[in-house]
Amino acid sequence: MFKKTPLAAGVAAFATIIFAGGCAVADADKSGKVDYTAMTPHELAEYLMFEANGGGGFNLSQEVQEGGTARERMQQDELQKACSIIDDGKPDAETLSAIRAAAQESIVYPEGGIKLGDWKKGRELAWSGFGYRIGHNFDDHSKREAGGTCYNCHQLATDRTGGTVGPSLTGYGKTRGTSDAILKYAYDMIYNPHVYFPCTHMPRFGANGMLTEEKIADIMAYMFDPESPVNE
């Protein structure tokens, strides 16, 4: 998914510093016990995650919705590594611009341009918090489709209570209009928001494969359609 970009290169270097691939760092001492105090905090964190407690502190062998196992899901890609800074600090300016460039490259636009879908479907998708949860209560996508979780963080139509982790999107289409530029901006934000907000806390719904092109079109219709309750 990530092309070889300056970010990938820079982060790869960073990654080797903090964590020398695999868990070779965890040399066992004479007693056969691993010495946690001999590791850096990053090495220990990776060790606790992937090796300790007989195969890792998490259930890593569980199969996940997108295929593969939880082990793969817990491994970080370049962006996740670059944005994982103690106390949630931001990386340096160069890394930030590399993140933006890589995010731009990740975005796949629909053939024939960005279109609005069915706002009624989009309304339910924006509301639904179902999807991609694993562990003790696995979300079975064959029983129900994965949603967009937008309401968890955003207020949209005010007949339902939304979160405030992100800004309010109430009246989005009404206030912003539906120019090509604003549609592209919204599409980019949903697909990979790191284009505009590097190291944002909003998920990459398109780039991470959480929403299909069709679902994005439906959610965008919910945001922009004049009939949608978002724009009442």
Partner: protein, 297 residues
């Protein structure tokens, strides 16, 4: 009923409230009885009120109803059951938990919980309350590790929740102060700090995605800010009665729940990774008074 995603499941169910009030009435004498016995110069609701008076926090004040109900917190019942269980000789070795060391010497519980996780000489490990109880059950009382007493970690009716609640209550109002003198304690705390910031999974979340700012909401829940001690002491004050679950819940249950919401892998109960997270989150609340037992959404 819509999928709430990241929040409690049935907190909006009006029937819940009815059953809660019934319990509350029943619990009244318990609160009085235990209140006198435990370290309750300041009962939990007054500890919370003190925090509310000292800072402006939408998280601390989000449920006036819970604050009013706290003197009748159903967790007090669970703690009372825990008191009996703790002092009863049990297991193949027929000994009580008074023989167990929770960090301050065998049977000493006052202030023990606010100083956990900590390093234990006898295991050579940093342990949190839950893993220490497991150790005590298996090594001191002689239970098999597959015995339900050991295995069943969740629910107000479990031995674990009874014991955890009782033990934790002996630290009510005291300041969080997990020791970091031993190199392993420091290493676990530092690894926890890394885990807090570590983004992964389908949604790229780390803990700060939802706990890095004050007054933010996920849907209707106001989230605690991990960088504000007054918020965070309430956040980590477990066991707490979770109204939305109608059960008393533990720290381990909360860690598992947040990794679940993050679309990350299922936490293994009592894994060193979970203890690292709890070591760091306790350090973040250092110096703030614990609310034990607490009541949450």
């Amino acid at each position: 009923m819509p999928a709430m995603g990241w929040t409690a499941t049935n907190k909006d169910n009006p029937l819940m409230e009815v059953s809660m009030f019934k319990k509350a009435l029943l619990a009244l004498p318990v609160a009085l009885a235990l209140g006198a016995a435990a370290h309750a110069e300041k009962p939990p609701e007054e500890v919370l009120q003190g925090l509310i008076d000292s800072v402006d926090s939408a998280y601390l004040t989000q449920s006036e109803q819970n604050l009013l109900m706290m003197p009748d917190n159903p967790a007090l019942w669970v703690g009372m059951d825990g008191e009996d269980l703790f002092h009863t000789a049990r297991g193949p070795n027929n000994v009580s938990m008074e023989a167990c060391d929770f960090g301050k010497g065998p049977g000493v519980l006052e202030g023990a919980y606010v100083e956990m996780p900590r390093y234990f000489e006898d295991t050579g490990k940093v342990m949190d309350l839950e893993t220490r109880i497991v150790h005590c059950m298996t090594e001191v009382q002689g239970f098999d590790k597959d015995d339900p007493a050991v295995k069943q970690r969740h629910g107000s009716g479990s031995d674990h929740m009874k014991l955890q609640t009782y033990i934790a209550m002996q630290s009510n109002g005291m300041e969080w102060n997990n020791p970091l003198d031993h190199p392993l304690e420091k290493a676990m705390r530092d690894a926890g700090e890394v885990l807090f910031a570590r983004r992964a999974g389908k949604a790229d979340f780390n803990c700060f995605a939802c706990h890095g700012q004050s007054g933010k909401q996920v849907r209707a829940s106001v989230l605690p800010n991990a960088t504000v001690g007054e918020d965070w002491t309430k956040a980590i004050s477990w066991p707490a009665f979770r109204v939305g679950h109608d059960n008393v819940r533990s720290s381990q249950h909360r860690v598992r729940g947040c990794y679940y919401q993050m679309r990350q892998a299922g936490m293994k109960a009592g894994s060193d990774a979970s203890i690292a997270v709890i070591s760091y989150w306790t350090d973040l609340a250092r110096g703030q008074p614990a609310i034990l037992p607490d009541m949450k959404r």
